[in-house]
Each structure stands twice: as C-alpha cells, then as structure tokens.
Amino acid sequence: MMDLDTKPPLMRVQGLSCAYGSKTVVRNISFDLWPGEVLAIVGESGSGKTTLLNAVAARHTPSAGQVSFDLRDHGLQEIYGMSEAQRRMLARTDWGFVHQNAADGLRMNVSAGANVSERLMALGQRNYGQLRAHAIDWLERVEISPSRIDDRPNTFSGGMRQRLQIARNLITQPRLVFMDEPTSGLDVSVQAKLLDMMRTLTRQMNLAAIIVTHDLAVARLLAQRMMVMQNGQAVETGLTDQVLDDPQHPYTQLLVSSVLQP
C-alpha cells in the first residue's frame, strides 16, 4: 500500500464524458488504474462500456474530462494533449487493444507469424530470424502450436484467433491492455482456457488491463476491481469480490441476481 501513495497511477481518468451529438452516453467517469491491476467494466448493452473503453484507449475523443497515462520517461501525461504520432506510438508499444471480434484486431490475409511480429517491425526490428523466433515464442505462450506460424488466421478457430490477437498485442511487453468483450462468442471451455491464460499472463507480466464485459464470471476470475455502469454512469465501483458478494446499488443487485446458475 505504501507504493500507492508515492507512485503515480498507471492511468488516471477524471470527469470523462462522451457524447454522440446531443446524446451523452458516458457521464463523468473518474478512476485510477494502478500498475498490474485488472479493472472490469460491467453493465448491460448500451450502458456506455465500450464507448468508455474507446475513450480511455485514445480511440474516441471524449467531450469532456481527462485521460492521463504514466509514460515510461515523462510521467503522467494527458493523452489527448499529445500529438497524434505520440499517441499512436503509445498505442502500439505500451498499450494493447483486444477486440471482441478477432478479425478486427488481426490481419486476416497474412500469416500468424507476420501478425504477431508486426508491432516489432513497426518499431524498426529488421532481422527476420529474430522476428520469427520471437513470434514462435509468443505463439507458444498463448498455446498455439508453432507449426501454425505460416498459416493465416482465417484458418484458425475462434479461440485460437483470440489468443493470436493477444499474442500480437503483448509482444511489445505493454503495460496496459484494453479488452472489449474478449471472451464473448467463444464456447465455455474455450472461454475458460482463455481466461486462465490471460490471468497467467497478466500476473507474469505485471500487466494492467481494463476489460469490458457483460459476463460477471469473467470479471470475478480476472479482475481485482470492477465498475458497474448503467446509462453511462458508474453506479458502483469496488473490489470485485466485494461488489459481487455484497452489491449495494439496486442495479448491481439486479445484475448479480440475474446470473444463471447451472
């Protein structure tokens, strides 16, 4: 706990609001995210989860508020105050973004190896042998057989695509990963495997993550902290176990009680 007082947070979000025209979909959201912490944003469809995620990931300019990130050499910096070049650089080195639909985050018409190595090539690595070795290492870490390195992602199953997308993002050793419904659309056993892998990776790499999900089980398994959203507002935040075991807000109570028990 001592660290928390002296070090700045990894990301600080203050008074963030997003509007599409006159319709405000995210209202006045503030939170701090600490290194290695996993934050889950849960809520029903249309509650503003994904818009919030896009806004903090510099993919959608908010209408009000600030998003600051702790740069490796400059400390806490407002991301929308940076130049676009800096922001894009940040997004492909220190950040990762895992899309709900893996096809959005992958290049489907180039091989798995090229997909995984793209970020390194963008950073100027020009040794094919090393790039390939690196790609094989990462494919193994996400439990994809290295023999599939030259295959295109459109020959992969949904779960493999999602793992490939994660490898592609993590190869630059980012400190923060944004995930938009990473497990929806996968069957439960594949989901479990993916969640297990993500939990291992976030622990190993001291990786912070913001995960948008409507699946409370995902939040329970991965996240230390969670934020419940309704109509663009954060109605409840707290430790995951605390929120799920003792929900205070009526909407959270409804959400928790709606989970089907097999």
Binding site: R107, A114, E118, M121, L123
Partner: protein
C-alpha cells in the same frame, strides 16, 4: 527489327489540337503538382487527372506528366517493357507526334524525355534527362491497408511497419523475398514509394540517378517524383537483404550478361531463348559488342 520512325523531319502535328493535347491551364496545374512532388521526394501529390483519349491502365498518368513538361525542342522516347516497338509504346509515341510534332527517337542517349512502362533503360541516364513512369497503383501499402485515409496517415507519421509485414509474408511462404516487380523503396530516407511495376532488377538504377524521375498515376490521380541524385533504398531484412534477379544465360542476340532478360517462347515445342528486354540497348550491343 528496330527502326527509328521515319517521321523525324516531317511534323505530323495536328493543328486542330492544342500542343501536347491538354489545355494550358491543365498543364500548369499538373506542373504545380510536379513541382510539389519534386520538392518532397516520394510524396504522392494529388492532381486533377483528366480524361485522356485512351483508357486507364494504358499510361494516362505518364502521358499527362509528359504532356505537361514536353516542349517543342524535346526529343521523346517511349518504351513499354523496355521495348520501343510494342503496342503501348508505339501508340503513345504516335499520340505525341500528332499532338506536339516533336522529334522522337529510340536512342536512350538522344532522348530528353523518356516515358516508360515497366522498365528503366539499361543505358545509364544522364543529367538533364527526364524519365516518366506510368504507374497503375501508386500506394505501396494498398494491398494490406486498403483505406486511403489510413495510408496517408501512415505516410505522414512514417509508420512503415506494414511494408515489412509484406516482405515477412514472402519469406515465411517462400523462404526468400519473392516480389520481383514493384518492389517498395524508401526515398530520401523519408517516404516509402512504389517504383511502379519495374522489375526489382531496375531498383538500384533509381538510386542517386542523375536524371529527374517523375511518376504519374492517372486513375489514382497521383504524381510523385525522385529528383536527381536522391537516395532510393530498396527495403529488406538484415538477414535477408534486397537482391536483384540473375539469369543463367546471356542475351542470345547481343550476348550481354548485364541486362534484364525476357524469356521468349520460340515454337510449339517449348523452345525458348533469352533476349534483352531493352531493345535499344540490345541493338547497340550487337553493333559494338
């Protein structure tokens, strides 16, 4: 096989048509685009490409560039795949004879403007010459990133990781870089450029070339340029550097070992021979071996 057109002395110019077909304001507009392109080597300058009296894909971009820079004292050479007597070359040459009446030649050294499709002449170019390339696809990243808004941003921010993804794919699938033409280059250490579908054999000729190199893409409405003595570096990996193709045999007509060779099928039995693709170079080599 080769002959200089017999129209050298007689002007074929059609008085009904403005000099070089385009109207003067259009030429001025294109010249402005060319100046900008020369000022920013490798940068694709948009221009108001005009409808030309031949279809897209037949060199409308190159023709508009040539039409904008050509003057009455210019000597024009037009080649297609290195040859002066193929359909595209003959037609474009005739087009300029009819619209400008300038002298035409097949001799690389005599030409002041060389319009080309898919080759750079073997004879080294010199200062004062202009080579105009016909470009079908000006955007080198188009295959992997079809959104033009995005590729322009990638150029602006110099984010060129994508180009190596392309080469990586080649290596992954074939063990070597299999692209043999339109091989991407880095111009002046800044912009990645498509050299038009010239064989990669010709890429080294672009580097520090004393001639002005202009590129016109008519359908895509882009002009770009490599000014004289500008660095042009072909992309590659440290452990798989750029290489040009080599042939096992020499040209069977002139015996050259240095030129780019075409494989020509001779008969129905599959008999073939290798000959220089640059017809002007080949015929000169035959006279003075």
């Amino acid at each position: 096989m080769l002959h200089n057109d017999s129209v050298k002395s007689v002007s074929l110019r059609d008085p009904q048509i403005n000099f070089a077909y385009l109207d003067e304001r259009t030429k001025r507009m294109i010249r402005r685009a060319i100046l900008k392109a020369v000022a920013i080597p490798g940068y694709q300058v948009p221009f108001g490409s005009r409808e030309m009296p031949l279809p897209y894909g037949w060199g409308t971009g190159g023709i508009q560039v040539t039409a904008s820079i050509i003057g009455e004292s210019d000597v024009l050479k037009v080649i297609d795949q290195g040859s002066d007597d193929t359909v595209n070359a003959v037609n474009i040459r005739r087009f300029f004879q009819r619209t400008t009446g300038v002298e035409v030649t097949t001799d690389t050294t005599a030409a002041s403007i060389i319009q080309t499709r898919h080759r750079i002449p073997e004879t080294p170019l010199r200062e004062g010459q202009v080579i105009v390339y016909q470009v079908p696809v000006p955007e080198p990243m188009q295959r992997l990133e079809p959104r033009e808004e995005e590729t322009r941003k990638l150029h602006a921010l110099q984010e060129y990781g994508l180009m190596h993804v392309n080469l990586f794919e080649d290596l992954a699938h074939y063990g070597h870089i299999s692209s043999t033409y339109d091989y991407p280059v880095l111009v002046n250490g800044r912009y990645i450029m498509s050299p038009s579908p010239i064989p990669k054999f010709d890429n080294p000729k672009m580097h520090l070339n004393p001639a002005l190199q202009l590129f016109g893409a008519g359908r895509e409405k882009r002009i770009y340029a490599v000014p004289p003595y500008t660095t042009v570096e072909s992309l590659g990996f440290d452990d798989h550097p750029f290489e040009v193709q080599r042939w096992q045999s020499a040209c069977e007509l002139c015996g050259s070992n240095e030129s780019f060779l075409d494989e020509v099928i001779m008969d129905d039995q599959g008999k073939k021979m290798f000959v220089c693709s640059d017809s002007d170079y080949c015929s000169k080599q035959q006279v003075t071996p």
